[in-house]
């Protein structure tokens, strides 16, 4: 399901991707296209197939069916030097020093070690971790180690950054820092593709999203398009609780005391306002709200998937 059309070249493309583990079809014919230079979020509850999709796109695993291109290359590992990847399961060598670990991750992707070491110190200093540059990873806090790994993901200045659940396990301050880093990278022309089960992050960061549930893409397009799939919501508070004006409200309007909530009628707000005034409803307040991405997600992926998203990581969901 595609929300809208774009004209930029794609940094990542997948067509008809299928991956089965035993009897379980983790990815079931996914089409995805990530425009170059965009921040693209893959949303879905745990077990939706997000990680499997990213791993296939990166070439860590091969799909059972379908095609993929990464920065225009059908064999993703050939573009590894231009890609940065932060896996969901974070991992570093515990005895390695922080700067050395970042330089090593850069070296894996073709950055000479000397350059990597110098850049590692710059990046650590830029994130307030210069004092930790020569400390072994095992002596760092979890948050610091995660930052080190993130810096190792960008040390070689990739054209594409892929982050699998990057906010998972970070406190609110570090989540904010990560959001800023993603925005900075995107502003410099880097494509950022990340998966998350926290809708708020995607809503704040992404230009485009793909909603994944049950191994399939339920929606792909801009956040705005996703939200536009739902009609704006009207919130009305009246002094009167009954009267002829009530026939102007949609039959599925929800009521809580004298507060009414319903989708904006097809005819717009003016006929409704007229009916309320003529019917002496006594308008206390009236607001029209554009639906959030969460509402769009519920409408697209279903209530159960939305509940899964909330349940997956309550701390993240709250942030």
């Amino acid at each position: 399901m595609t929300g809208d059309q774009i004209t930029q070249p794609y940094a990542v493309e997948g067509r008809g991707l299928v991956k089965t583990f035993g009897d379980f079809r983790a990815v079931d014919g996914i089409d995805i296209a990530v425009p170059a230079g965009s921040i693209f979020g893959v949303l879905g509850p745990n077990g939706a197939g997000k990680t499997t999709l990213l791993r296939m796109l990166l070439g860590i695993i091969d799909p059972d069916g379908g095609d993929r291109t990464l920065l225009g290359e059908a064999e993703p590992l050939k573009m590894a030097r231009q890609v940065g990847y932060l896996p969901e399961e974070r991992g570093l060598y515990p005895s390695m020093k922080a700067a050395e670990a970042i330089a090593f991750m850069g070296a894996l992707r073709g950055l000479p070690l000397r350059d990597g070491r110098a850049r590692a110190r710059e990046l650590l200093a830029g994130h307030g971790l210069e004092a930790s540059a020569d400390k072994p990873i095992r002596s760092l806090s979890k948050g610091m180690a995660q930052t080190v790994q993130l810096l190792g993901t960008i040390v070689h200045k990739p054209r594409l950054i892929v982050l699998d659940e990057p906010f998972s396990g970070l406190d609110a301050i570090n989540q904010g820092k990560l959001e800023a880093l993603i925005r900075r990278e995107a502003a410099s022309g880097v494509t950022v593709l990340f998966s998350t089960h926290v809708i708020a992050h995607a809503e704040r960061l992404c230009e485009r999203i793909a909603i994944v549930a049950g191994g399939r893409i339920r929606f792909e397009g801009s956040v705005s398009t996703a939200r536009d799939r739902l009609r704006p919501q009207v919130r009305l508070e009246t002094r009167a609780s009954d009267g002829p004006w009530r026939s102007a409200l949609p039959p599925d309007a929800r009521v809580d005391g004298n507060i009414w909530q319903f989708a904006l009628p097809d005819g717009g707000i003016e006929p409704l306002l007229k009916a309320l005034v003529d019917g002496e409803a006594g308008i206390e307040s009236l607001s029209i709200e554009r639906p959030g991405l969460h509402d769009a997600f519920v409408a697209i992926a279903g209530e159960s998937a939305a509940r899964e998203m909330g349940r997956a990581d309550p701390e993240d969901a709250e942030s």
């Binding site: 860590i60 695993i61 059972d64 590894a80 990847y85 060598y93 894996l108 190792g152």
Partner: protein, 399 residues
Amino acid sequence: MNETLRAALVIARRDFSAVILSKTFILFLLGPLFPLIIAVFAGSMGQQIDNAASRPAVGVAMTAGDIDRLNAARARLAKQIGEQALPDLRPYPANSDPEAALAGKDGKAVAMLSGTLAAPRLTGKAADVQQFQGDLSLMISMARAGTALPDTRIETRIVAASSGSEQQSRLLTGRSAQVLLFLLTMLLAGMVLSNMVEEKTNKIIEILAAAVPVDAIFLGKLIAMLGMSFVGIAVWGLTALTGYAFFMGTSFPMPTPAIGWPMFVLLFFLYFATAYTLLGSLFIGIGAQASTVREVQTLSMPITMCQVVIFFFASYAVNRMGEAPEVAAAIFPFSSPFAMIARAAQSDAIWPHLLAIVWQLLWVALIIRIGVRLFRRNVLKSGGGGRKRLFGRKAGPAA
């Protein structure tokens, strides 16, 4: 530079530094010294025990005259064939009962010679009788002949070389090199088994697999461990040579191999490298399937036994140059380095070694490829549904 090799060297460098700079590496280097110290002590104690226990003694219950003649004959014989080759003679009273003497608690004689020189009688257990009968017959004959038996003088002519002797000597060199190669491979290659566990335990494997081909991970780890092994061998070798030079002087007792020492040493290192990488590539492939150290430990025993069997096979073939078992041992990849180093001691032809090294390296590549494929399928859970060639990217539309 080829991308796989470049990436392999990055991983090798990391692994090599991590091992060499760790405190446990000191223990690793000291490890072989422990058995050496034990061997020195055991050897010294053994020698003392040997001296104290002396050789087996045969009790002689004869007249004093006969015993003197027998001792004189023994002394003459010992000059010719060596003291160690003859049993000691222990005098007993002439009227001693041989069976009672053997049954007695003193237990100094293992057999009893009684009667006279003209009619001697040997009493003892069957095995002891069989062992001493020949020597005692010789002594008694000489004692009876006395000075009437002349010494035979053999004129000697010394030649520089004897092909039969050289073959035997080179066989010894070949066998020794084979044993050393096996010991080093067995000691060092087993460590590769657990090499992927760290990456899997610390979740680093995902980062590596996303950045470089899995082949490069395997190859890098092999290069690192091979490098570490060479450091160990260099340290142990230099220590051994220094120790030898200090205690024994500069002459080297091993017979010169047919191919010459410099080439033989070079081939030894090359065959160690191939034997190590052959086993290592197999081990790393098997070890990569294991998810815990316990699984690795369980795997190590059957693998060690397989190594021993392969060594026995190569060892059996060593003195059958050119025969079917030796050719088979040279062709079978896992025994090939052992068979070929023994061949280098016995034959000066170079080309079979070039051929063998290329052959062994081909097998290393093949085993790594199989290991990588299994790793991708079983550990990374990739490629389960697609048909893929062993070499190259894909054969079917699915992959």
